[in-house]
């Protein structure tokens, strides 16, 4: 009975075996342009980077023999104290802003999740630092906010006995980390706010009726619910912040000395100021390999975040 009624339909949807392979390709066809484009534009350059990294290749000396293959570049990279400093700075400039922006974002999101006068406007205002072009924001911070003489910050701090601090010169690392935190906190606020608003209000109310205090409710209900959102925040924040370049290029130029030189900025300097393509490529390869190791862990986290329910049709 069932077989009889469904048979014609089955036939219509699943073509006979001979045509199935062609059908599979037909299904894949819409994906192909995007796939081919992405492979060509994002993967081929990495292969070239790998190739250059085994050559003595300097744009200042275009006629010099390129000596392929050589591991001199890698030897130079691992013996380079600045490379080590840049690697440590990169870790610091990623971890601190991510942690600070998550904590601040959590606090602000909780405040904004309450009934507060002008909530819509507040939300609009808080996302602005994230939308603003970071090159523009970096220069405004440098000249208009942090400047020793003309900066607003020193003016505001004057009544508190803080006088004419040269923030960018003396506290360069703090400056960069504060800037990155300022930029990324809004993103965390949005993410965590979405998490808070997806909580089941009835469960919270039931807990309150049962006499649970706000702190208990936060620990036992809200925080576990927010876990996925916080993990996602850490992950996406790290992906972007680890590549921070604009603010360092525009505010401190990596200095004083190498205090704020991170890996993207250092590779930029070696490639586009010293024109040492070979050595810069070797550094890039080291960075990419390290990133792949870390990203593999991250991808595992993502696939647990994007569990089957979120990825597939619910």
């Amino acid at each position: 009975m069932t077989a009889l009624t469904t048979a014609p339909r089955e036939f219509a949807l699943a073509p006979p075996r001979t045509r199935r392979r062609g059908a599979a390709w037909l299904k894949r066809l819409p994906l192909m342009p995007a796939m081919v484009f992405t492979v060509v534009v994002t993967q081929i350059p990495f292969l070239l980077t790998l190739w250059y990294s085994f050559q003595k290749y300097n744009l200042n000396y275009p006629n010099r023999a390129r000596q392929f293959p050589t591991v001199a570049n890698y030897r130079a990279v691992f013996a380079d104290p600045i490379f080590r400093t840049a690697a440590l700075n990169t870790l610091e400039f990623t971890a601190v802003p991510v942690i600070c922006s998550i904590l601040l974002g959590l606090g602000i999101a909780i405040l904004l999740n309450r009934r507060v006068f002008g909530r819509g406007l507040l939300r609009t205002l808080i996302i602005s630092p994230f939308l603003v072009m970071s090159a523009a924001a970096a220069l405004i911070w440098k000249y208009s906010i942090l400047d020793t003489t003309f900066g607003v910050l020193n003016y505001v701090l004057r009544p508190f006995g803080v006088h004419d601090v040269n923030w960018i010169g003396v506290h360069s690392q703090l400056t960069i980390m504060t800037f990155l935190t300022w930029q990324w906190t809004p993103f965390m606020v949005l993410l965590i706010l979405a998490g808070l608003q997806s909580q089941n209000e009835e469960i919270l109310e039931a807990a309150r009726v049962d006499g649970a205090g706000p702190w208990r409710i936060f620990r036992a209900l809200t925080l576990p619910h927010l876990r996925m959102y916080l993990e996602l925040g850490v992950l996406l924040g790290s992906i972007y912040i680890v590549q921070a370049f604009d603010s360092i290029y525009l505010i401190t130029q990596g200095g004083p000395a190498t205090d704020t030189t991170n890996l993207p900025y250092y590779i930029y300097q070696v490639a586009f100021q010293a024109y040492d393509i070979g050595r810069a490529s070797a550094m890039s390869v080291v960075v990419v390999v390290a990133t792949i190791l870390i990203a593999t862990l991250a991808l595992r986290t993502i696939s647990s975040i994007f569990s089957d329910e979120t990825l597939s049709r619910g």
Binding site: T38, P45, L112, M133, W182, G195, F245, Y268, A295, L299
Partner: protein
């Protein structure tokens, strides 16, 4: 947005409510202050902008906004850069959507085999640091004679935003009821027609949000622009690089330029703020 008063909120004393409200406003305004200060300083004259005691009250002038727009005797105006930025951001956004929509369709509506691997391949390209590719990109572009062109940035921004768009559009496509698409298929509509007459109208808000997000990322992009362009393909951020070693009084001029540079994206972002979080989380957060 209107949530009913909860038990806890009814119990909270008014003074605490008021205090928390003020605290919220204070924190948000601290975060917003640099943006506000930027826009305000643009309305000052240079003499009013360059004072050790910042002026909160001043007679506003449009002079700097005008000189940013048209350029001054010594400097080029922002207008040429704005035109480049608009052409590049809009161009790459159109291509991104044109590539991402069919791809997302193949990954969402009765998906192909291994759709999961494909999705993760796309997102993994976002994790690789761009510095790893910049050197060959520079050399290839130089050898192909496309350094400092708009085409080059359009191409690269398309690659940069494609993964985000695929993920985002896929998450919106998952919400389209299968029955609707099957109905169109039974009617014999082929993919391009299906997309145009059935799918696109249904996911229009999501499509718009994805496009806005790609536009924002392209507009603000700095690293590729600064390394691969100088004049002909230079975008708005490159105009601002001129202020790294400025001469004379420039605060008002810089502020006006920065404000104009940020305004399109601020407006786009404010308009799309409901969908922003979904886009930024690649569709994971609804």
């Amino acid at each position: 947005m209107k949530t009913p008063l909860t038990l806890a909120e009814r119990r909270t004393p008014l003074s605490v409510k008021l205090g928390l409200g003020l605290l919220t406003w204070f924190i948000v305004l601290v975060f917003f202050f640099p943006v506000l200060w930027m826009a305000l300083t643009g309305f000052k004259s240079e003499t009013a902008a360059n004072t050790p005691t910042p002026k909160f009250v001043f007679s506003p002038t449009l002079y700097e906004y005008q000189s940013v727009w048209y350029g001054t005797a010594g400097t080029a105006g922002l207008r040429g850069y704005l035109e480049h930025s608009i052409a590049i951001s809009a161009g790459s956004t159109v291509i991104v959507i044109a590539l991402a929509l069919p791809a997302a369709y193949a990954l969402a509506i009765r998906p192909i085999r291994k759709w999961r691997d494909v999705l993760f391949f796309f997102i993994s390209t976002k994790m690789l640091p761009i510095v790893g590719a910049i050197i060959p990109l520079f050399i290839i572009a130089r050898d192909l004679n496309i350094l400092d062109t708009q085409r080059l940035l359009i191409l690269l921004y398309t690659a940069m935003n494609l993964p985000i768009a695929v993920w985002m559009l896929r998450s919106f496509l998952l919400e389209v009821p299968l029955s609707v698409i099957e109905a169109a298929q039974v009617d014999g509509a082929r993919l391009p027609r299906q997309l145009r007459s059935v799918v696109i109208p249904l996911i229009m808000p999501g499509l718009a949000a994805a496009a806005l997000l790609c536009f924002i990322f392209s507009w603000n992009e700095f690293f590729l622009a600064v390394n691969l362009t100088t004049t002909n393909g230079a975008t708005v951020p490159i105009y601002l690089v001129g202020f790294v070693a400025p001469e004379g009084e420039f605060l008002a001029h810089l502020s006006a330029a920065a404000t104009v540079a940020c305004l399109p994206v601020l407006i786009a972002g404010w308009a799309a703020q409901d969908k922003l979080v979904r886009g930024l989380s690649m569709g994971a957060v609804k």
